[in-house]
């Protein structure tokens, strides 16, 4: 089976696996004052420090994943105006109360002019959320510029960096945001843990309350194995080079001349390609690829069950019909060149079959 769906979830990196398994057998509740609890606590504190240092963050709150981190970030906006891009992940869109959507250009990048207008249109500042890397197209958003603009007008700024870590340089400090989401299983760590990185004393409206863990911002017993796995994955992900991925991305795009590549004209990460096969629905493509042992996706993992047209693509101006023909290919740390070649082969085969059918 060829796995080209890294944006849905990444295989667990060996270093993350080792770190996790080493701690899995340790008994104790990290909140307990006895030695066993303290040992786990220090492992967690070290992991926290490592992750924070590597992205120049100020404070880190562990959550159960990216979705929850987004929910926590957005819950801060209660009663305030909310501006989110039209291409955000569902976990941001659904967590926003009455959001105003920031339109994107045809290339899938946030429309800066429109944003400026929107920011000025509100009588009071609120919360703005703009993802750093879009999960479907891989387009890199101008978060730093937007944060600068928005903060000058008194807005709080959040960025969902789930798909960014390891693919673009990531510095919380440089971005100038107040809140930043990280997801472990998007960078080779275990599923079940994520983080909301914040400015030092940034006030939050906790979603999950109770025993006071995580600065009183997120209650619940912490899982040391998941957290150390996460930290190990982050460390490795930051070492990844995108050179190889970039080559493969180019190879795919050059080989598949018939394909429509969405977001091609703007800055994208190297490991994602959103490809349209003219006239062939994503459902058919998915089935065909699957039969040939290739795992890809159409739209985000969670929404692919409903097979709706991707809201990201429709926000970019595609018609429903066009959007329905798009698939997402995403590569990662375990991908081989042969797999890319096979993918290209199969894509061409599927398209050829379709053309034959059309002709007859």
């Amino acid at each position: 089976m060829i796995y080209l769906d890294y944006n849905a979830s990444t295989p667990l990196r060996p270093q993350a696996q080792d770190a996790l398994l080493a701690v899995l057998g340790m008994t104790g509740n990290p909140s307990s004052p006895h030695r066993m609890g303290r040992d786990l606590r220090s492992l967690i504190d070290r992991a926290r420090k490592e992750i924070l240092e590597s992205i120049e963050g100020e404070r880190l709150i562990f959550t159960s994943g990216g979705t929850e981190a987004n929910a926590l970030a957005l819950s801060n906006a209660k009663g305030l105006p909310v501006l989110v891009s039209s291409i955000e992940h569902e976990s941001v869109l659904k967590a926003s109360h009455n959001p105003t959507l920031i339109p994107v250009t045809q290339e899938g990048k946030v429309d800066m002019e429109q944003l400026d207008v929107l920011l000025s249109s509100f009588s009071q500042p609120g919360l703005l959320s703009l993802m750093l890397v879009n999960n479907e197209t891989g387009v890199i958003q101008p978060v730093r510029e937007v944060a600068c603009l928005a903060k000058a007008k008194g807005w709080m700024v959040h960025t969902d960096a789930s798909q960014a870590l390891g693919h673009v340089p990531l510095s919380f400090k440089e971005l100038g945001v107040d809140l930043l989401t990280l997801s472990s299983h998007k960078c080779g760590g275990p599923i079940g843990v994520g983080a909301l990185v914040t400015k030092k004393d940034f006030p939050l409206n906790p979603l999950i309350r109770g025993g006071g863990q995580e600065y009183g911002m997120r209650a619940g017993t912490l899982s040391a194995p998941l957290i150390v796995g996460f930290a190990a994955a982050v460390k490795e992900a930051l070492k990844d080079s995108s050179v190889q991925l970039q080559r493969w991305q180019q190879k795919i795009e050059t080989s598949l001349s018939a394909a429509v590549v969405y977001g091609k004209k703007v800055f994208r990460v190297s490991h994602v390609i959103c490809l349209g096969m003219p006239g062939v629905s994503a459902e058919i493509q998915l089935m065909a690829f699957d039969l040939k042992g290739i795992a890809i996706s159409a739209g985000a993992a969670c929404s692919s069950g409903t097979m709706k047209a991707s809201h990201v693509l429709t926000a970019m101006g595609l018609s429903e019909k066009e959007a329905r023909c798009a698939i997402r290919v995403s590569m990662g740390w375990k991908t081989h060149e042969e797999e890319i070649d096979r993918f290209i082969q199969e894509w061409q085969y599927i398209y050829a079959q379709y053309q034959l059918k059309e002709a007859s």
Binding site: H34, T67, L93, T221
Partner: protein, 403 residues
């Protein structure tokens, strides 16, 4: 250095090796986002998760379709209480809970109060059990939800769930129970007990941390406003990618508990009663907090008069236990659970919680008993309070020069 003897099973349980074994492949080989519909990685992940869901549901006699996975009981409790409160708030805005609930329940209720809801905190009797009459009287037409924990984490006391469920059913009120300390230890049956919502914690029943579940009744249907929205997973009640390994771990832990509950609780009761006997025989002025009979088999919560809890814990550092003393709590207040039983502050400071579990041996129990007895005696020799009571002085008559 040798590991301490672990007697803190209520704080957390070690992952059973059999659970680790079934989880391993999902860390080491298999991967895939279970919500990916388009390939076998996703389907396989989904399949194992559904299997785990069935095993978890079976332990509480629930319909698997009514069970959603969460990140743990803390989240389940927050979701159950706030989720239900928000959904029905137009017509009903009153919640009933109990003073001895876990902080996540109490703080969720506090948050609701700040938002305009009314909350009744039912007191408990000195044995830790709620008075059913009080409950009946507290319910009004505006009551949405009653939330009473099945087993208390500090004193191990079991609430009369079937009776509470009956009352709630009769009065048309939803019944939620935080069953984190109960599931896998005592029989739980959402049908027989008329439970509408039930919280489960993975790491309290020899499963992994980072996973829990919430049972949300489907017939008649209970609705709630999700805390975490997004991709619509778990029937829209809890979005976010599910971890196949964690779910599998929880499922296996539940399956093992289902199999072994009876034999395990019998064994633990014998060990626990033995521990209590030895301590009581060799030490004076030891008081049990909470009902002895209506209690899970592995828990013991004792106050050792005139000896402070944290000091005692320091002396028995080869034992991992916990204390109701202020010094060991993050808030620097003595255990509110003990205070709710009517235990006086000074006695709350002297308490120790001993939690026995699956891997506790009789040797460990005997060693623990001796260490506790030795240390209590040593500290009593150092205690001015012990000295004064030996001299016949009534401590209550003294005017303490407190800060």
């Amino acid at each position: 250095m040798e590991r301490p003897i672990y007697l803190d099973y209520q704080a957390t349980t070690p992952c059973d090796p059999r659970v680790v074994e079934v989880m391993l492949p999902y860390f080491t080989q298999e991967f895939g986002n279970p919500h990916s519909r388009s390939h076998v990685y996703g389907w396989r992940a989904e399949e194992v998760i559904e299997n785990a869901r069935e095993k978890t549901a079976k332990l509480i006699n629930a319909d698997p379709k009514a069970l959603i996975f969460t990140s743990g009981a803390t989240e389940s409790n927050n979701l159950a209480i706030k989720g239900v409160a928000y959904f029905y708030k137009e017509k009903k805005d009153h919640i009933i809970t109990c003073v001895t609930e876990h902080k996540c329940v109490l703080n969720s209720c506090r948050q609701l109060e700040q938002e305009g809801f009314k909350v009744t905190y039912l007191p408990v009797q000195p044995n830790g059990i709620i008075d059913l009459q009080h409950l009946k009287e507290a319910i009004t037409e505006k009551t949405t939800l009653v939330s009473i924990m099945a087993v208390n984490n500090e004193i191990g006391v079991i609430q009369p769930l079937a009776e509470i469920g009956k009352i709630c059913r009769e009065k048309g009120v939803l019944f939620h129970t935080d069953a984190a300390q109960a599931v896998g230890k005592i029989p739980m049956d959402v049908e027989a007990m008329n439970i509408d919502l039930l919280s489960i914690s993975g790491h309290k029943l020899y499963g992994p941390k980072g996973i829990g579940a919430l049972y949300v009744r489907r017939k008649p249907r209970v609705r709630l406003v999700p805390l975490i929205s997004g991709g619509g997973q778990e029937r829209g009640m809890r979005s976010g990618t599910l971890s196949p390994s964690l779910c599998v771990g929880l499922g296996e832990a539940c399956a093992i508990a289902h199999e072994e509950m009876v034999t395990e609780s019998t064994r633990l009761k014998v060990l626990r009663d033995h521990l209590y006997q030895v301590i009581k025989t060799e030490l004076e002025e030891v008081y049990l907090n909470g009902d002895l009979e209506q209690r899970i088999p592995g828990n013991l919560n004792l106050s050792f008069a005139y000896v402070e809890g944290e000091g005692l814990m320091m002396g028995i550092k080869d034992l991992a236990v916990s204390s109701g003393s202020a010094c060991t709590s993050a808030s620097l207040e003595p255990s509110y659970v003990l205070r709710a039983l009517g235990v006086e502050e000074e006695m709350a400071h002297t308490s120790l919680r001993l939690g026995l579990g699956r891997f506790t041996t009789i040797e460990e129990v005997d060693i623990a008993a001796q260490k506790i007895i030795k240390e209590v005696n040593r500290l009593r020799d150092m205690s001015p309070l012990w000295e004064m009571t030996r001299e016949g002085i009534n401590l209550k008559s003294i005017k303490w020069a407190a800060h």
